[in-house]
Amino acid sequence: MLEIKNVHKTFFAGTVNERVALQEINLTLGEGEFVTVIGSNGAGKSTILNITSGKLRPDTGSVVIDGQDVTRLADFQRAKYIGRVFQDPMAGTSPEMTIEQNMAIAFERGKRRGLAPGVTRKKRDFFREELKSLELGLENRLKAKVGLLSGGQRQALSLLMATFSSPNILLLDEHTAALDPQRAALVSRLTAEVVQRHHLTTLMVTHNMEQALQLGTRLIMMHEGRIILDLDQAQKSRMTVPDLLHEFEKIKGAAVDDRTMLQ
């Protein structure tokens, strides 16, 4: 379970470039809830993700994972609770290391690392089984360097590495945006499968409205650092992309009106 409470974040505070990224964000993800986040550029989607992962700290407010306040923990300290897949397919894996070594690193997520062998026969068998679920034939290439894989393969592997050790929270940062349509569809499908299989509490940022409607159990839309629309599964299933766009224009217009009124 993830709770983001009263989070406020301003970039470059006190300068001419001051920009409010998040204001008064309250968001609670129940156990196993899969939330997709959409919004235009600068709406604060990525900031929410980065605040959850610990890459950024909120100015005020707190982040709580399964009852544990993690607001003050650095990104690597929170990794115990969080699996992440980045937008850049190159970001989630180590190219000079083999597939099995990458998986061995992921397998130890958040644990204390000592002098035990990283890859053992038992782990290798487990990795092979896990890789089969990707249906990319990677189970036969355990000793291949990850740098030799295509972007789609690397992203599928990143997804597996982020999830197979069952994190409390899964964060997906536009993780299909850099892939060609075919590969993006594959990674989308794998995402749905893996989230269901491990019953993962998931926060996914995307630019793709269709994907946001198709995946997940809840959808939120952000604009200028606020959550302006929050749809549960039933409401979401009735929505189409034009509906969403229409809704966005309507709320955006209202928000502008509010502000003019206040001034």
Partner: protein, 305 residues
Amino acid sequence: MIVAVELGLIYAVMALGVYLTFRILNFPDLTVDGSFTTGAAVAAVGIINGVPPLVATLAAFAAGMAAGWVTGILHTKGKINGLLAGILTMIALYSINLRIMGKANLPLLRQDTLLTPLRDAGLLGSAVGILVFAIIALAIKLVIDWFLHTDLGLSLQATGDNEQMIRSFGVSTDRTKILGLALSNGLVALCGAMIAQYQGFADIGMGIGLILAGLASVIIGQAIFGSRIIFVATLAVVLGSVLYRVVIQLALQAGLNPNDMKLISAVLVIIALVLPQLKVFRKVQGLSKMKKSLMAPSEPAGAKV
């Protein structure tokens, strides 16, 4: 020539240390010039004061680790550029080394060292000498191979390869960098201790320019013998170190002045770094990868696809 091979095998320990920072951590660490002399100084002072040679040599390793730790702290906690952090420690060590030694040159004449049994038996400069030093170098190489494949070692490798990734799996990259620098400089100091015992003195200037010998060994060795897997990569470093000493020896025999050796080392490294950029050599596998941590990036790293 046998002496050159022996020296190459001893200096291989230093080259393995440089390999850890330069290739594994992707961090060009200049602490080496200082920590090598620190190792020699600690071992020499220890031996002169009656400490058992083995203990003195291990103390040198510990002193080197401390030096690497300082560079690591400066770089990670002090947020000082890696090259500068190394230079700062190296310069500071010059004074510290003089303090340890008390004077600029410490002879080990008539002292019992680790190498006394070999020397007394007249085996230095013979095939047996080469065998002994080869066993030492290969043993250390195998320990490094083993270490890099442990959970901790894998996280060290990933730190040099993709920092964002390894942090997302819960590893403090500050800690792995400090650990890598400490281990690396420990090995360099260990090498300094052995060289001091081999040549029979410690000298304040013995580490000057040594980083180039280390880099040359790593670059030349891996360009010729490959670096596809760690086992091969570390073996290539050992062989590269031997090759480097042999080349230096040949240059000396050809009539070059010993004082020109630093210039020759520098030219060797420059050639190894620049050659792969020429079209003819682009295809030579291995060479092009070598330069990644020493060259200015030609394209923005981590560019969005």
